[in-house]
Amino acid sequence: MIEFDRFELDNKLKVIVHEDKTSPLVAVNLLYDIGAKDENPEMTGFAHLFEHLMFGGSKNIPSYDTPLQQAAGENNAFTNNDYTNYYLTIPKSNIETGLWLESDRMLELAFTQKSLDVQKQVVIEEFKQRYLNQPYGDTWLHLRPLVYKEHPYQWPTIGKDISHIENANLDDVKDFFFKHYAPNNANLCLSGNINLTEAKELTNKWFGDIPARQIKARNLPVEPKQTEARFLQVEKNVPFDLIFKAYHMPRRRSANFHNLDLISDVLSNGKSARLFQRLVKEKKLFSDLNAYLTGELECGLLIVTGKLIKGINIQDADAAIQEELLIMTKELVSDYELQKVKNKVEATLLYNDSNILNKAMSLSFYELLGDANLINQEINKYQKVTKEDILKESQQLFQASNCSTMYYLAKN
């Protein structure tokens, strides 16, 4: 059980407080409900570029990092297709520095041309380092448009193309800020050596005077149901073939999510799991093979992906995967196997629980889903999943018409 309190400021900023006196630190997690999915298709990569710009100075504070480091704070941030998350940890005695910094940049960024020019370069280097200069790095640049035809999930967080980043101008940036960054479009979680009284006082002090803003209404195109199998083949300068199979699944908040999560666990969580034992160890088709959920909020995917052993025919490997998925649709998993994956999930949740920053991120995430207390319902939801649920869900999921396959082939 993670105990916490929740309150809202007048400007609609949601605040969650979890006290953990065993740590000398406080974790501050600020989640903005803005992600790559909210971008203009002609201006992608913006939410992520913006995350970088958030460190370029705010209205009253020319440098974010310097004062934070002075106060022995550490921070980072990430952006994904659904949201942007900023987090820091700081000694208890210096908590106000953390709140001062986060509130000022929620109030207003210092929009400068220099900052924009530099961060564009940095993001372009990031694009190269992570997506272009790595073997298999551009996988998702190909896979996303294959799987999503209408929904903005069709482009990755880094952006569809480097040119979108290159073309970003200061007016676009200002516009983006005022339309998406606001107390009424965010939640703040304080976790660690802080109590409710302190939290109320300090958040009101620092965030109370930030005005709520008119947030651009979210009106995203709905991804139409996929009605037939899709296929894409690319050839790249990599040593081994890679296969991707993507299956559409319902939204994160759906009642079936936990069934689906356990399906991916039966297939692939741990070295005793089916895909590893049967297709990697026994049949030696792959050097590694995984199944996982992308976890996207609106319409995610279950992915099966693996690197083939040299010499294995990719169609054979593909067929072998499909055979395993077919078994999931035809045979109930055993009680033992179901218990095993449930134990694993429960243990993982418990291990994550031991860290104030993890707790802060999770609480913010569940608050975004609609209710921070979902964090305490997770174990129960997993425990309730039955063998029959898994069978039924597999039958829905693993249909050929629901599948997009990509062969990422080694040249020659």
Partner: protein, 425 residues
């Protein structure tokens, strides 16, 4: 409320260093325990003097370390995986040049079941041919993939150049080395470095008396002998200092600039750490400020003073846009030289001190972190004075001393430089 002024903050003056309780098992094995945390979970580290420096042939140490969990006298690989997964336990292995071992994460309530498997893996591995075969195929493939990355090529070249191609720290495996591994090699390595030699156990989390009893029962009876100290050759750095490795399709160049250096035993180690942090050890560092934030050449650049048991390694690492690699190199040397000729301003030095104290605070926050810190001390045969000295040094060091250290350790022309990229004509 004036938003332009930073709220009052305090410097971290002291760090509460929770010391481990040391228990000696009947066979002399030492167990370092950190009993803390609210959750009924345990982390157990088994640490052996079994790093790659001890191997006579490339890849033997890591292959042994990997194969041990792929089958024991009583359980095959699948059964081991099943048991760990069923109990919600996680089993990781680790290896570096000096040390090797395993980490078990388990729910306290299943400690006996999971530690039993741990014991089997450590003392009674079966080294099955079929498992070795599967492992080698996978490793070779992974190796080939790694060889396509600029930073792998840069790291390998750098290591060879700085320590020497035949040196324990400079040796880099080649693809053909995989085919030279035999089961006998593994059995022999295991016998010498795992089965009979002394090792350390670190336990952190919610530790009940039952856990300690189980540890004694499972690990306290086998006779252990102290390993004979092996003598190692001195380093043999290359006579050439600058290297360029061509990689045709690289869109980024990987840069490594550095040299062999001091380690944790040296009195300058804490001070040099401060110097390294100023240069490239945190987000506001000289290197980041110049090469990322001002020039936009890179997504990340940093410097590190890395301690090994027989030496140290000081290195600056980055991946930069291919077209700007020469400029980036120039700027790196520029920043190094500045530290030799200009005093670090008081405000900047204080910021770095605060940052480093914060870092130390975090390394003692929570049972798992504390245990790792304790291990870092025990690995080198040091005691808690190491931390108090480190803290004292951070607090007291001044700009004059920083400049002294820079001039001592950043001598003109003493650096080795490796760039892997695409030289466009």
């Amino acid at each position: 409320m004036n938003r332009t002024i930073q709220p009052k903050y305090s410097r971290i003056d002291t760090i509460d260093i929770q010391q481990a309780k040391v228990i000696t098992l009947s066979n002399g094995i030492k167990v370092y325990t950190i009993d803390a945390g609210d959750n009924d979970i345990l982390k157990v580290d088994f640490v052996f003097d079994a790093g790659t420096k001890y191997q006579d042939k490339s890849l033997i140490a890591s292959t042994t370390n990997s194969l041990m969990q792929e089958g024991t006298i009583n359980y095959n690989s699948e059964q081991i995986a099943e048991k760990f997964d069923f109990y919600g336990a996680f089993w990781n292995r680790f290896i570096d040049r000096d040390f090797a071992g395993f980490t078990l994460y388990t729910l306290t309530k299943y400690d006996k079941e999971t530690l039993e498997i741990a014991r089997e893996i450590i003392f009674e591995p079966a080294f099955i041919d079929k498992e070795l075969e599967t492992y080698l195929i996978k490793q070779k493939q992974q190796f080939e993939i790694e060889q396509t990355k600029v930073n792998t090529l840069a790291r390998n070249k750098y290591t060879q150049v700085v320590f020497g191609e035949e040196h324990i720290y400079g040796k880099v495996a080649k693809l053909k080395d995989f085919d030279l591994i035999t089961k006998e090699d593994l059995i022999q390595f295991h016998k010498t470095y795992y089965e009979t030699s002394e090792f350390q156990i670190f336990i952190s989390g919610k530790i009940s008396d039952q856990v300690l009893e189980d540890i004694e029962q499972l690990f306290g009876s086998a006779k252990k002998t102290k390993q004979l100290k092996k003598a190692f050759e001195p380093i043999q750095p290359s006579s050439e200092k600058r290297f360029f490795v061509q990689k045709d399709d690289a869109v980024q160049a990987s840069i490594r600039i550095g040299k062999a250096s001091i380690n944790k035993h040296h009195r300058d180690y804490p001070g040099f750490n401060v110097l390294s942090t100023i240069l490239g050890g945190y987000f506001g560092s000289r290197l980041i400020t110049n090469i990322r934030e001002d020039k936009g050449y890179t997504y990340g650049i940093y410097s590190v003073l890395h301690s090994l048991k027989e030496a140290g390694n000081f290195a600056i690492m980055t991946e930069v846009g291919n077209e700007v690699s020469q400029e980036a190199v120039k700027e790196i040397y520029f920043e190094i030289d500045r530290l030799k000729t200009e005093f670090v301003p008081e405000e900047e030095l204080q910021l770095v001190k605060n940052y480093m104290m914060g870092d130390l605070l975090r390394s003692f926050d929570g049972p798992f972190a504390i245990s790792e810190s304790v291990r870092s001390m025990v690995d080198y045969g040091l005691n808690y004075d190491y931390f108090s000295n480190f803290i004292t040094e951070i607090k007291n060091i001044d700009s004059k001393r920083i400049m002294e250290l820079a001039n001592t350790y950043f001598e003109e022309d003493s650096f080795y430089e490796v760039v892997v990229g695409n030289k466009q004509e």
